[in-house]
Symmetry: C2
Subunit: 267 residues, 2 copies
């Protein structure tokens, strides 16, 4: 008999049904970002896990989240609503609240990716990276990363460490690297929705101290194969304090699995 410890991701994104369309959970201290509040991708994943319980299609296809207030840790509620269940796709909404104040509001569409069978034509390539073992752990030797506990849950391997990770912004605001959950849990579509928001904002390479998400949309393009994930992140436009961040993920086989963009604001 094998006993497996549930992953931090599964444990901390789970919620308990407390009403017809209402779920209770704790925003965990294990997924905090700079400032000690819950990471935006983690909160999105809690909403999607609740919504999955009300929708027959197994795979997240597309999720859009608007961020209204910081995610203060502790007891929270998720209210769900099913907008439409179709044959091929289904769409629902989830609102995460803390003391009846809205933290994030999410629309999400689900499908069965195994049933998708249309045409395929790909016009771009996965990042070319040395194997993870030949890359650098940007956090090695840094110890704790302020109050950002998410740095203990997700690990990175980089061909070279961007300057801003060590306090010397290089002005490029683009990077390719590997990532995975530190405890070895493989990614699935909802996990990808967390991982696209798990790294430090690449806009920090332009010398800004951090940023707060206004909106994040992630599209899941395939179920990911097990193993390390290839990531590409880029910010092209910081305008009057607002910036986009594009964060795309390919799986260990080099297949595109997630495309995301967030709009964020420098505090």
């Amino acid at each position: 008999m094998t006993t497996t410890t549930p992953s931090a991701f599964d444990t901390d994104t789970a919620s308990t049904r407390v009403g017809e369309h209402e779920f209770a959970l704790e925003l965990s201290e294990r997924w905090t970002t700079f400032g000690g509040t819950a990471n935006g991708g983690y909160m999105l994943a809690t909403c999607l896990q609740a919504l999955r319980q009300e929708i027959p299609q197994p795979d997240l296809l597309s999720a859009s989240a608007h961020y209204l207030r910081p995610g203060v840790l502790g007891p929270a509620r998720i209210r769900t609503e099913v907008a439409r269940i179709g044959r091929r796709t289904a769409t629902g909404e989830a609102v995460l609240t803390r003391d009846d104040r809205e933290i994030i509001r999410v629309l999400a569409t689900f499908t069965d990716l195994a049933q998708a069978d249309g045409k395929t034509a790909e016009r771009a390539d996965a990042p070319v990276l040395p194997p993870p073992a030949a890359c650098v752990d940007p956090l090695a030797g840094l110890g704790a990363v302020g109050d950002a506990t998410i740095a203990e849950r997700v690990e990175f391997r980089m061909p070279e460490v961007p300057g801003f990770w060590r306090g010397a912004p290089g002005g490029t605001s683009a990077a390719d690297f590997w990532c995975r959950f530190t405890d070895g849990r493989d990614a699935d579509p909802v996990a990808l929705a967390l991982l696209v928001d798990a790294a430090a904002p690449v806009v920090m390479d332009l010398g800004v101290p951090g940023s707060s998400t206004v909106e994040l949309t992630v599209h899941i393009r395939r179920r990911p194969a097990p193993g390390w994930l290839r990531c590409r992140v880029r910010t092209n436009y910081l305008i009057d304090g607002f910036h986009e961040e594009d964060f795309d993920i390919w799986d260990s086989t080099g297949a595109l699995v997630a495309q995301s963009r967030q709009l964020a604001l420098i505090p």
Copy 2:
């Protein structure tokens, strides 16, 4: 005294308040897409115009729409909800229905772009195009474009016409061109949310007959200057029938004004 005719955009995206958070409108026959149903960007704009009446901030900042059913023309309703009104941003929701069936569901965040005053750093450039007068109107000589009346409301000028506009797909699925409203109305943030979905899907250049939007997100980066808009559209990944389309717009001065991405499905 000058009399001006209201623009087609203003007339056809307007709705009448019929309840505390409910608006009535007609989905107009002037903004149809292939198949004769209402264009997705047009329906998004109707939702945003209704929501603007309930939110103090003047400018659309970010809108995310999930498309649930085709927009059959005729009488429709929009139900709105304000999620949070903050000092800097405010977020609301709008649901467009037809005979009590949901057509699209939208989350949108508004701000006052004139008050945005943070850092600016731009790492990409506007499309370089010959002046509109030196470009080609891809619809010249084509007459009506099937039942897509939106082709009479929005006009394009292209350095060269992509093959698929004339039935000979070139396999590139990328293009740069000019666009504007045909009646000369200048764009504002909500108009940009329509225009990012106004052109024929560039994935048609891969030989597919068309596509249906699943999700569309648009971020408004600046209030646009008057005049022709520079557009860049690209689809990199068509996978099992699903594809993204990135559609970015710069204004006549070459400043980035809108970034959008949609996920769509080949029927």
